[in-house]
Amino acid sequence: MICPSCGNLCDDNEVYVEGNKIVKVRTECAISSSKFLNYNKERNTKPLVRMGGQFKPTTLDDAIEQVARMLVEAEYPLLYGWSETSCEAVKKGIELAEEVGGVIDNTATVCHGPSILGVQDFGEPTCSLGEVRARADLIIYWGCNPSSAHTRHMKRYASLSKGRFRLPEQKKVVVVDVRKTPTARNANIFVQVKPNQDYELMAALKMLLGNEEIEEQEVAGVPVEQIEELAELMRSCEFGVLFFGLGLTMSEGKERNIDGALTLVRELNKWTKFAIMPMRGHYNVTGANKVLTWQTGYPYAVDFSRGYPRYEPGDTSAVDVLSRGYNDATLVVASDPVATFPKDAVKHLCSKHLAVIDPHISLTAFMADVVIPSSFIGIEEGGTAYRMDGVPLIMKKVVEPPEGILPDVQILDLILKRVRELKKGR
């Protein structure tokens, strides 16, 4: 059973179903079992519309009608989310965004968007996770905390995994972070970097790899001797990999921190084999980026307002669209921006028409005008998803959704059909 939680997309969980209910989960991951066992709790099963400030239950047709009208009337709708649903739904979402001339953006925009910007300047030497398991003798987690966010990453793919050419004891683990995370506690080496100075540390590493002298005693709070040791470790490994997370993309410099990391790993390939990989959060954030890229040419922040894909992240990316007050309506699918966006962005989001498609009453749904309940992808509906390393997997359906609840792809299809009718009517 493929787990629709994080970018690990573990495909070896066992789920036991009795009747139409998941009764037992065999997995080593707390998040995964919580997902499989709790997904059905606090479930909203009725389409809701806001009237006089209060939610009132309504029919699916009425909810679809309202969302369709909202999108057709909007001059600059934002269609946001897409990372906790199937690629089939993402394709439908792109078609809808194109049809209504809106901006489509996925959660990468506040996750690994900067990583993508970095890749667009430098490319990335990377590999599938099996390569790490089979060959890596040095694993670096920089600004990421798999023990909390990707609990089985180390066991399945990295430091604790048994690979064809490497046993766990042959794999050294280095953690670079601003705080001693749970991951850091189990590392061979922990390097504590000062907040917002990862770039300086990476620059220092590149200097030392290039046998250059640094005119400092310490960089980013790390003594130069310790940086020298780290550089030597990287240079002398047989196959190294650098996993990085939001510690780099969200702190000062953002895309420039990725610039620093990508060019560091590039440099290391002069000495040995070295790969780099972002630790993608939501289980299909990678897939959303991939589908957007092959259908529009761009991975996120795609603006269809002029009838063709345009890409200007920093202006057409969700937070910027909201904070500049560009959009006059928003459709949120399988995501919760109210829980993840800065205050002022959420303010604008909530001040305009807002519709949400989500299995739960998320914080965003709580603020919405229209809420359409959807089935759980990966549990109540199948579809494809892409693992953080780009390996595609087919998610399975194991239980039936509650009566009358449709998957995202079907809801979006109904909206799209209605939108086309309304546009013809004009």
């Binding site: 620059a203 410099g253 060019t263 006059d328």
Partner: protein, 275 residues
């Protein structure tokens, strides 16, 4: 020059595409033709007449046309895109991508300009009498090439990544700059009268950055070269003294940072490395 004044009608809710607003597009057209030109507001095709009131007249040649834009233009983006000649004066705050890939002419903004001012610029002059946003004089995503020529002057402050990937030309900032000024710079000159955020010149391979104010830190990938009494920006002498750093060494770069000695006592320890 012939003056043509467009005053935006009211505050618009959704973004307006300003590409059409260049002397190149408007020259040789009658006021009526101009009013009937189409652009986008959000995803709607709208005539300029719906968005602007027009005074004055157009010129026959772009180089003779002085286009004056008035009002709150914060949601108008790409004003002056790919303009080659003439002049645009913007009275009021203006949106993103002003002067996108301009090759010539002059753009004056009397107000604040949003991000990506002069992106991909290769010639002409952009002057902002106010503040400007992020990535001034940078380049389109993935091009690895920022501003290639011309002059950008910002009287106030600028955001992050000023002159990112800049290849040639000059940027002058009267106020402060946010982090990563001149990051990945490949040539040209950046002059900042105020303070800069962290990591100026990071990964630059060529060009020159002059800072009169405070610098929190110099990337570890720079070496100090010497102390100079003064330096020059486009021919005018700038009084120092300056610490001169070169780098970015990790990029095999030969860029130069001129950092005010007086405003940066915390860099004194670096003097020990001068030989």
């Amino acid at each position: 020059m012939v003056e043509l004044k467009l005053k935006i009608k009211a505050q618009h809710l959704t973004p307006i595409e300003g590409e059409v607003l260049t002397p190149d597009n408007l020259a040789g057209k009658s006021v009526n033709e101009i009013l009937n030109l189409e652009t986008w507001r959000g995803n709607r095709r709208v005539k300029l007449s719906e968005l602007f009131t027009v005074e004055g007249e157009s010129a026959s040649k772009p180089s003779d046309l002085h286009l004056i834009l008035e009002g709150d233009l914060r949601k108008v983006r790409h004003i002056g895109s790919r303009m080659s000649a003439g002049k645009i004066t913007i009275n009021g705050p203006v949106g993103t991508f002003v002067g996108f890939e301009v090759t010539g002419g002059t753009i004056v903004v009397n107000g604040d300009a949003d991000a990506f001012l002069g992106m991909g610029m290769s010639g002409g002059v952009i002057e902002v009498n106010g503040n400007a946003g992020d990535a001034v004089g940078s380049g389109y995503w993935g091009t690895r090439c920022g501003m290639r020529g011309g002059l950008i002057v910002v009287k106030g402050n600028v955001g992050a990544e000023l002159g990112c990937w800049m290849k040639d030309g000059t940027i002058r900032v009267g106020g402060n700059s946010d982090i990563f000024a001149g990051v990945r710079m490949q040539g040209g000159t950046i002059f900042i009268a105020g303070n800069v955020g962290a990591k100026p010149g990071a990964a630059m391979v060529n060009g020159k950055i002059v800072v009169l104010g405070n610098v929190p830190n110099i990337p570890p990938s720079f070496h100090i070269d010497e102390i100079r009494p003064s330096t020059k920006v486009d021919g005018d002498k700038i009084q120092g003294p300056f610490y001169v750093f070169y780098g970015d060494i990790t990029e095999g770069g030969n860029g130069k940072l001129f950092i005010s000695v007086e405003k940066n006592p915390h860099l004194k320890y670096r003097e020990a490395y001068i030989f």
